[in-house]
């Protein structure tokens, strides 16, 4: 008869005296400021014009209103351009100062998580170079991508815990003639929309009271370094992140629940490109189909490119497998812009999406045929050489 080698097992396990809670202070902002006081880095402070919001660990987070520096997302700009366009359009409508910089790279985390052909120092240096660029501009960084946001918080944690990493990054920054900069808060665009939700609702021109939505929160927004993600005790009893949902509710939409809320979308970094069966199956079977069966929403809203891409594009091939559930997918920014009267094509750029969003537009009281004709008219002007690009003025004409 076999036996369990208890002593051997406990001997191995006894090595673990490490305590995860002893690693970092709960108040990250204080720690960030403390390191500045010790001369370790320069803190880019939140501008005077800001809003305080509740977080998971109960320490209020400061979200800047303006002036902001928009750290774009490669996926949003590359494949779902209506995302960034909507974010900027809402800023313009509210009359707020923002910068859309050229002095910015991707966070490069997609490649990092997918291929591992990078390392902690490179990732930290890329983050800090972008932070320094924002600091030099005088505008506070708002991070558009869920992964950039989570990854930058991961980088912040690594830089806090490891002086040797700070030294390495500081030396690289010195070569570039830049200081080692850490923002006082790392802020995701959906946090900005959440903080501004009542202001946005004041500018609402379309009635959303007959619109129902499900919400898919991005994993890297609230699972990766969770402390300072927004959690509102008034929403979901403070048990789920309040971003996206809080905005949809402020706009009068009904947010419906479904049982796989906490599941990821199936993006998987390398999977969406080279193991697509995983991505498609997960997105359709664990998310779209469940939402459809349990909530039957008019739209599903999220706040990260990977999630929009995965949930939207996966729906087509699933039809071949007899999965006919279909739900339009868009970002909270596009949803808010539509509420504020944005053009569905010139601003929200919905023609880049796959799942049929037209019934949703009809429910919102938008004549999409007329809107498309307007878009096509401008395309014609462009083809005829009358205009070189569509301008912000054209959009609001």
């Amino acid at each position: 008869m076999g036996f369990i080698p208890v002593e051997e097992i406990t001997k191995k396990k006894a090595q673990f005296v490490r305590d995860p809670d002893a690693k970092l202070p709960e108040n990250i902002r204080e720690h960030v400021l403390q390191l500045e006081a010790e001369g370790e880095w320069v803190v880019h402070r939140i501008p005077e014009d800001h809003v305080e919001v509740p977080t998971k660990y109960g320490i209020p987070k400061k979200v800047p209103v303006q002036p902001t520096w928009h750290h774009k997302s490669c996926g949003q700009c590359g494949h779902i351009p209506g995302y960034s366009t909507s974010i900027f359009w809402v800023h313009r409508k509210l009359g707020l100062t923002y910068e859309d910089p050229r002095d910015q790279t991707s966070c490069t985390a997609w490649n990092y998580y997918a291929s591992a052909t990078s390392n902690a120092a490179a990732q930290a240096a890329v983050a800090v170079r972008n932070f320094a660029a924002a600091y030099e501009s005088g505008n506070f960084p708002i991070i558009h991508c869920g992964t950039s946001y989570g990854h930058y918080k991961e980088v912040r944690e690594e830089l806090m815990l490891h002086p040797e990493l700070r030294a390495e990054v500081r030396a690289i920054m010195a070569k570039l003639g830049k200081p080692l900069v850490m923002p006082e808060e790392i802020v995701h665009y959906s946090e900005w929309f959440w903080a501004m939700r009542n202001e946005i609702a004041k500018h609402q021109v379309r009635d959303f009271s007959n619109i129902s939505a499900t919400v898919h929160p991005a994993c890297h927004y609230y699972k990766l370094v969770e402390q300072d993600a927004i959690y509102d005790p008034e929403l979901y009893g403070g048990q789920r992140t309040a971003v996206v949902s809080g905005l949809a509710i402020a706009l009068g939409a009904e947010v419906r629940d479904y049982s796989t809320f906490f599941d990821c979308c199936g993006f998987g970094f390398r999977h969406i490109l080279v193991q697509r069966d995983f991505t498609r199956s997960f997105a359709t079977l664990r998310k779209i189909q469940v939402m459809k069966d349990e909530a039957d929403p008019d739209v599903t809203l999220t706040h990260d490119t990977g999630c929009v891409t995965t949930l939207d594009k996966s729906q087509f091939a699933a039809k071949a497998h007899g999965i006919t559930a279909s739900i339009p997918v868009m970002s909270d920014a596009q949803f808010a812009a539509l509420a504020m009267g944005a053009h569905p094509y010139k601003v929200c750029q919905l023609h880049w999406h796959n799942a049929d969003y037209r019934p949703l537009l009809e429910k919102m009281g938008i004549d999409w045929r007329q809107a498309w004709a307007e878009f096509e008219k401008d395309v014609k002007r462009l083809e005829d050489g009358e205009i070189e690009y569509l301008s912000w003025e054209d959009v609001d004409a």
Partner: protein, 237 residues
Amino acid sequence: MPVETSALYKVQKGRYDDVSLEEKERLFAEVKADMRYEDYLYGCYECGICVAACPSARFYDFSPRRVAQALAREDVEQVYEQMNDDIWECSQCFSCLRCPRGNNPGGLITIMREVAINNSLGTAKEALEGYTRIIYKIMGTGTQVSPDMLQPEAFPDWGPEVVTVSKNLDLWRRMLPPETMHTTSTGWDVADKTITELYLIWHATGVLDMIRQVDSNLHMILEEMMEDKLEEAGYDT
């Protein structure tokens, strides 16, 4: 009675018998030497909460718990096996961070992947086949998802909209009001100086050497491209 503990935990015996124990130990030591290792592993309750949260565990014969346990028990053989057969299944969603022990199995996998790359493991090379153009794009241009990737040949399963988008790409990109987004080969217009600064980061942090381990052709192309630019900008590489 003496107990050979490591043998008790082996899931599949013999698959990597041709690799010496010293080599397996060397790779494990490299994983443990990563500065993040001690921030990511605190033992394991064996509760399975990470597995319940893990999308890859639902889809593949994969388990974040197995990874955390093998590392915590220092089961060199199993760690080696996982570095070859398991780690690329992880979708890096970090759902496993809900671990009540404070572990970060997804992060541990990131470290194991980096070690697999740095040591040119065959399975790592295999995992990255078909991925090279993305590495080239991000390292070369500073943005990693570009509009011109939206091609029907690349995404036949994304439906007819991809055909329409690719047909209208130039035109539709100019139909975007933000001035930085009239690009097709990058997500947005990145300043030349910014790209040069990024090249310096790749050089200074040894990322180019990592690329050499997985794809020597790609390494050659990137190195040439970067060195020219850096020299032009007056950086000492």
